[in-house]
């Protein structure tokens, strides 16, 4: 699945890849969707994720893919037919910023595996190696319509490590959940966190300028490492020694690994984009970009996405200049804007968070309709993750990652009634047998039952 990168990923970089820096196959995806019988969803209102709202339209899922959208589609043999008049259908929600599994529930000390706070550069760590697949929070996110999510390491470090994109399916191993072919992400962090963590220890960085020196130094080393391997590939000689930290950074320089940069302030985003130019790489997305609206034109110009909250603010100084119109302003400036959660609660309500951001945009005077706002929780996060060629919208041939909502998903009363991943019904609100329970939930609170007596998803 090479070449998925688009708007946000800067796919126009020439193929310079000779050495395998991404090591995509070291912990390969073993995810395999269960066999899916065809599903015909009849008569729903579709928000396609491509800018359309289609009334009373049928959607056919076949062989795990979206097979057709249209009027009066014929049900294939053995198809499950769902009468969905009055209901709404969207692509599966994609959360570009999650720590599920790395910061699982219950949050006890021994399970806090999301932040390798031992050095300002820990690009060598991979979030997937911390994921507790039995985190009961995955199933709650599924009940909220989330079909894909990126698990990122935390933000204590300038370079936090690699993130991983998962399908929100139960897995015994994290490989069972890995999104096939999804490129890796590198988590970077601007601002207060790294300087607080390391400044407190009396080491670099203790300031924002220290942060920037740390990034640049690392990119110098990574560039040299990449060149060394390229020389070896081209000219032969002695094989260079592998370095896990530099491999990840070199993967970014080669355009295989996407940069996901925790960065709140407009000033810092501008500097990070300059660093990217200095070392010739692309930033995929600024996360927690509370001040993205201040530099929305620069984001558009540099083809950098911004992942934002609807209304969080004030928990730290760099989150003080919040406006609820943030996503809308970024969007209207033609940059790629999206909602994200960074929260086990927020991830369950990304439709509501998107709704709030949409209304803030309307109140700002922008003409923004649900058919467009839905892209903030589907297609744009797919772009950010480099998987938009295969998911994120209801288009023929894409993965059948689909949510059937009880009503308009931008209503507080709407619920994800059914959630399909690759055409397989992974969650059904009305059918306890299609509601997953992690190992943790069995026999807890009630030795003979599950965590909650009535199905667990209430």
């Amino acid at each position: 699945m090479i070449g998925l990168l688009s708007a946000c990923g800067g796919g126009d970089k020439p193929e310079a890849r000779k050495a395998d820096f991404a090591r995509q196959d070291t912990f390969p995806s073993t995810y395999k969707a269960d066999e899916a019988t065809p599903v015909l969803i009849r008569g729903a209102t579709l928000l396609t994720g491509t800018g359309e709202q289609r009334l009373n339209t049928d959607l056919l899922l076949k062989d795990g893919k979206i097979s057709a959208l249209g009027e009066d589609l014929k049900a294939p043999r053995k198809a499950t037919v769902i009468e969905a008049r009055g209901k709404w259908v969207t692509p599966g929600i994609i959360d570009v910023h999650s720590h599920l599994g790395d910061y699982p529930a219950p949050a006890i000390e021994s399970s806090q595996d999301g932040n390798e706070m031992t050095a300002p550069n820990t690009a060598q760590v991979w979030a997937e190696h911390s994921v507790w697949t039995q985190d009961p929070q995955f199933a709650l996110a599924l009940a909220g319509g989330v079909t894909t999510l990126q698990i990122l390491p935390g933000s204590a470090n300038l370079f936090g490590g690699r993130g991983v994109t998962l399908k929100n399916v139960p897995g015994r191993s994290v490989q069972d959940m890995k999104f096939p072919g999804a490129p890796y992400g590198l988590k970077m962090a601007c601002g207060e966190n790294p300087k607080r963590v390391y400044g407190g220890k009396g080491s670099l960085p203790s300031t924002r300028m220290g942060n920037v020196a740390g990034y640049r130094q690392a990119w110098i080393e990574a560039s040299a490492y990449r060149d060394k391997w390229q020389d070896y590939q081209g000219k032969g000689g002695e094989e260079p020694e592998r370095n896990l930290q530099l491999e990840t950074l070199a993967g970014v320089l080669n355009g295989e690994i996407l940069v996901h940069n925790h960065c709140y302030r407009g000033e810092e985003m501008a500097i990070m984009m300059d660093i990217a130019k200095e070392f010739d790489f692309q930033i995929s997305t600024f996360h927690h970009a509370v001040e993205a609206y201040k530099v929305a034109d620069l984001l558009a110009e540099n083809k950098v996405c911004a992942a934002m909250w609807a209304d969080w603010w004030g928990f730290k100084h760099e989150a003080f200049d919040m406006t609820e119109a943030n996503i809308a302003i970024v969007d209207q400036a033609k940059a790629c804007a999206m909602i994200h959660s960074d929260s086990a609660i927020g991830i369950q309500h990304l439709n509501q968070e998107t709704a709030k951001a949409m209304v803030a945009g309307q109140r700002a005077g922008f003409h923004i309709e649900p058919r467009h706002a839905v892209t903030w929780m589907t297609l744009n996060p797919a772009k950010s993750l480099g998987i938009d060629a295969v998911t994120g919208s209801l288009e023929k041939g894409k993965m059948a990652d689909v949510v059937i909502w009880s009503g308009n998903p931008f209503s507080v009363y709407a619920k994800a009634d059914q959630v399909f991943i690759d055409g397989v019904l992974m969650y059904d609100r009305d059918d306890p047998s299609r509601q997953p329970h992690s190992d943790f939930e069995l026999g807890i609170l009630d030795a003979e039952g599950e965590r909650l007596p009535e199905g667990g998803q209430q």
Binding site: Y293, D311, T323, I329, I345, M358, A364, K415, R451, Q458
Partner: protein, 431 residues
Amino acid sequence: MNKNTRFKFYGVLLAALVAGAAPQLFADTLLIKGAKIITLDEQGTLTVGDMLVRDGRIEQIAENLDAVTADLVIDGKGKVVTPGIIAPSSELGLTEIGAAASTNDSAISDAPLGAGFDPAVAFNPQSTLIPFNRAGGLTRAVVLPGSEEKIFAGQGFAIKLTGGYDSVTQTGLVQKVYFGESGAQLAGGSRALAYAQIEQALSQAGEYAANRAAVRRGDWRELDYSLEDLDALQPALSGEQPLLIAADRSSDILQLLALAKKFNLKLIILGAAEGWMVADALADAQVPVVIDALGNTPSAFEALGARMDNAALLHKAGVTVAISGPGYAGSHNSYLSRQGAGNAVAYGLPYEDGIKAITANVAEIFGLEGGTLAAGNLAELVVWSGDPLEVTSYAEMLLIDGQPQSLVNRSTRLRDRYLHPKAGTGHAYER
């Protein structure tokens, strides 16, 4: 349509502000016409109704007040009027930026005071959190101390969100105490110790009350708490002041019910993630709860039973439920209690009870003004663009103490400055 009403109203407001006019001059009479009015009082809900406000008080609510003229008439068609939202648990005016210690006054460390700590004098009516939450529909709030060292955090107070120096309406409102996991950690490692400390403090407060002169003379045995703390516990001990005790686990809640019975306390449970499991006991004891209705993850071993229909189940059993803003949002977004209430309704709480949980019930539990709309009441209300529990609705007009309030805040100011961001120095001249 919405926009016109809003801007018209801002126009009135701005003109008055520029002129330096006192708020009383806005309008002696205000008439809201043709709105859905949810009174939460005897009149119930008027699908289409009018409301007349005179000199800051509600004078009349009726289906039709066509004969009445007013200084300011608001077209309420398609809009919904409710009492103002009241936050049952916040640090409004005590915190500005969470991670900036110098801007936080809610918790103390290394000080002798526990129960006696009263943060009301630290309250800042000009906090940026106040206009932002007010724009979200919040008119009043309970402000609570936190604690980093002691299970007795201190006393809560009540505010109105006018931003005026007279914002604090009641002090000594509640005594806040930690039980459960956090209480256990603060007490020294076990819930049993936290429980013993609460019992001991209350017993010694009683002992002190009965022997006050001797204790003060030094003719009494050494007590474990300062006289300030023991004094501060008297209203709780006499049942005048509620103890707001944090607990989530069902067994913890039952222990607190026993404690309340033993000392004849007025108890409010804060948290109650597993409240639904002991809802009947809470109802029997007539103990209300303050919950985060979005908190459905088993985030701690004491909250394994957390679920979305906690509010619905508690209500069904007869418990008075107040809903706070979501835990992740903190006081900066206290008004998001309405999103919590909307979700609680989606998961089975009857609609009007959802609105009560963020208005009338909060007023009732803490003994505050507001919470209902009725003739004679202070006009404390919000005119919403639509269903107040929908995340797509917003406050178009808001009255506190009968006076219209500004809905402008840093979020709207920044929005207007950067609506179309571009290079250059121009932004700095946009006001």
